[in-house]
């Protein structure tokens, strides 16, 4: 079964880091990604550019309106994601707990993917 692991973290924490700290986190993410790739769980995953680069397209009276910024101002921002294959929620939770951002006080939202039609593969 496929799950999205949505990584939320306060962007300011990252901004306040030294180059060294940032490099260490980058390395940790590399190792984590490698480990779930080897176990066969990784389907996709990427970091996102900060919300200062975000653009929101919102429907208003049936017409799209484009504005600068994320869809909502929140304390923690979506900063990246993994799409993984897991046997069940416990396996997905165990993977989420190993994402380096958790150690830094971030949150991972675990969402099952809604399968439409015959499952892939």
């Amino acid at each position: 079964m496929r799950y999205m692991l949505l990584i939320y973290q306060n962007e300011k924490i990252r901004e306040g880091m030294s180059d060294q700290e940032r490099a260490a986190i980058f390395k940790e993410y590399g190792e984590f990604t490698q480990s779930i790739r080897q176990s066969g769980a990784l389907l996709a995953g990427d970091p996102l550019q900060p919300t200062s680069t975000a653009t929101t397209v919102r429907g208003k009276n049936g017409r799209p309106i484009t504005t600068d910024g994320p869809f909502a101002e929140t304390k923690e921002q979506l900063g990246g994601y993994y799409m993984v294959e897991a046997k069940n929620l416990d396996e997905a939770i165990a993977m989420a707990a190993r994402i380096p951002s958790v150690r830094l006080g971030g949150s991972i939202e675990v969402r099952p993917i809604m399968e439409i039609g015959p499952p892939p593969k």
Binding site: M1, N88, L89, D90, I93, V110, P112, M114, G117, P118
Partner: protein
């Protein structure tokens, strides 16, 4: 045994096994209903089968297979249905002892809200109706029904596994399970509503689940302590209500009606749990110790309240909760310092977490009474009466109120 009797006693066990076999809560419940309907139709004439549980599980399984086949004609989810049919063909009907343990770990999964955990456990393992659970938790039946539907949907959609966690190092999963078991026991020990002050079968169910945890997780100390707490409370059951099923409080109970053989055994269990916790007793080890101190007192007056207050203070420090604070306040008052006890109750009240809890004003009224402050006591008994929902407790509080009114009128 009659069909209804079997339904009442075995429902949880059968449902747990069906959920394992079918991998789906709703499907298991539907199949169980089908099987009981079949039993109601057939047993009175054909006779009760030799092994009614196996008969019901087998019949439910066939009913589920039929339903799946019928559904597959319309449904697009062929793969899912194929998976279920495959599961049905593989497994056999024997209920396994771990089925209920598996079910309780699923119902108490941390991915579900606490209210949903309790509701699901009571619904599936306790066999309570949605209305009964709603009354127990003071919410409208429609709210509770929605809560159950949402929880079952989440178990299915997010695929919450139906298994005992292999690795639960921080004990998070077990703590959630124990809390739910204890809530079930408390609901049975003093039902939060209705005519019957005590639901014996709920207590028995909670104790049964407690035993299951001890048996299947022998290296854990807290389940032992939890079991000791429940059994120590349970050994007082005969003395807790008088002939007209009115509540008799601990200090007025006829202690000769306590089950002393049981108490000795349970106290030993509580002591073992404390010993095994190596100086860092968990919440249930402390509560077991408190219950054991109560049980050791030959008369109410001989109760070692100072010891109980000290144990509650420790519990309040390691596992703070408003109810623990309230109990500590009462223990402090009973150990001789009523003023301080009242001040501690004021503290709890000010924090506002127990605004709907009838035992807070009741405790305050009781202590005010002991100080001879009858007018104030009357006011707090009235507030307690406005909040209480158990009939037997209501009668007890009304009686106390009448006593105080008449004694203050006389004096």
């Amino acid at each position: 045994m009659r069909v209804e009797e079997i339904f009442r006693v075995e429902r949880g066990r059968i449902l747990a096994t069906l959920i394992r076999l079918l991998g789906d809560f709703d499907m298991a419940e539907e199949a169980l209903q089908d099987a009981f309907a079949a039993a109601l139709a057939q047993w009175p004439t054909a006779g009760t089968p030799a092994n009614p549980v196996a008969w019901l599980i087998g019949t439910a399984r066939h009913a589920a297979t039929d339903r799946l086949r019928r559904r597959s004609v319309f449904a697009r989810k062929q793969a899912e249905i194929a998976r279920h049919l495959e599961l049905l063909a593989e497994e056999d009907d024997t209920p396994l002892p771990e089925d209920r343990l598996r079910l309780i770990f699923t119902c108490c999964h941390p991915a579900l809200a606490r209210e949903a955990q309790v509701a699901l456990t009571l619904r599936t393992l306790g066999g309570l109706s949605t209305e009964e659970i709603a009354r127990a938790f003071l919410v409208p039946a429609s709210t509770m029904a929605q809560r159950l539907v949402r929880a079952k949907k989440k178990i299915h959609a997010a695929r919450i596994p139906y298994e005992v966690p292999a690795d639960d190092a921080p004990g998070e999963r077990l703590v959630a399970v124990m809390m739910v078991v204890y809530l079930v026991f408390n609901e049975g020990y003093l039902a939060s509503s209705g005519e019957h002050p005590m639901r014996r079968e709920l207590c028995e169910h909670a104790i049964g689940l407690g035993r299951l945890l001890v048996e299947l997780m022998p290296s854990q100390t807290e389940p032992k302590a939890l079991l000791a707490v429940m059994l120590l409370h349970d050994s007082r059951r005969e003395a807790r209500f008088d002939a007209s099923s009115d509540l008799v409080l601990l200090d007025e109970q006829d202690r000769s009606r306590w089950d002393h053989a049981q108490i000795d055994e349970r106290t030993a269990l509580a002591e073992a749990a404390l010993r095994e916790s190596h100086g860092t007793p968990g919440p249930y080890a402390l509560q077991a110790a408190i219950a054991a101190v109560h049980a050791a007192a030959p008369t109410a007056a001989a109760t070692d309240w100072a010891q109980i207050a000290a144990l509650y203070a420790l519990l309040a420090r390691t596992h703070p909760s408003p109810v623990v604070e309230l109990n500590r306040a009462v223990a402090v008052a009973m150990s001789g310092d009523i003023e301080r006890g009242l001040a501690l109750i004021d503290d709890v009240d000010r924090r506002g977490n127990l605004a709907d809890y009838h035992l807070l004003p009741a405790a305050r009224a009781e202590l005010l009474c002991r100080q001879g402050r009858h007018a104030e006591a009357v006011e707090w008994y009235r507030r307690a009466l406005a909040l209480v929902s158990n009939e037997s407790e209501r009668r007890h509080l009304s009686k106390r109120l009448r006593d105080v009114v008449s004694s203050s009128a006389g004096g």
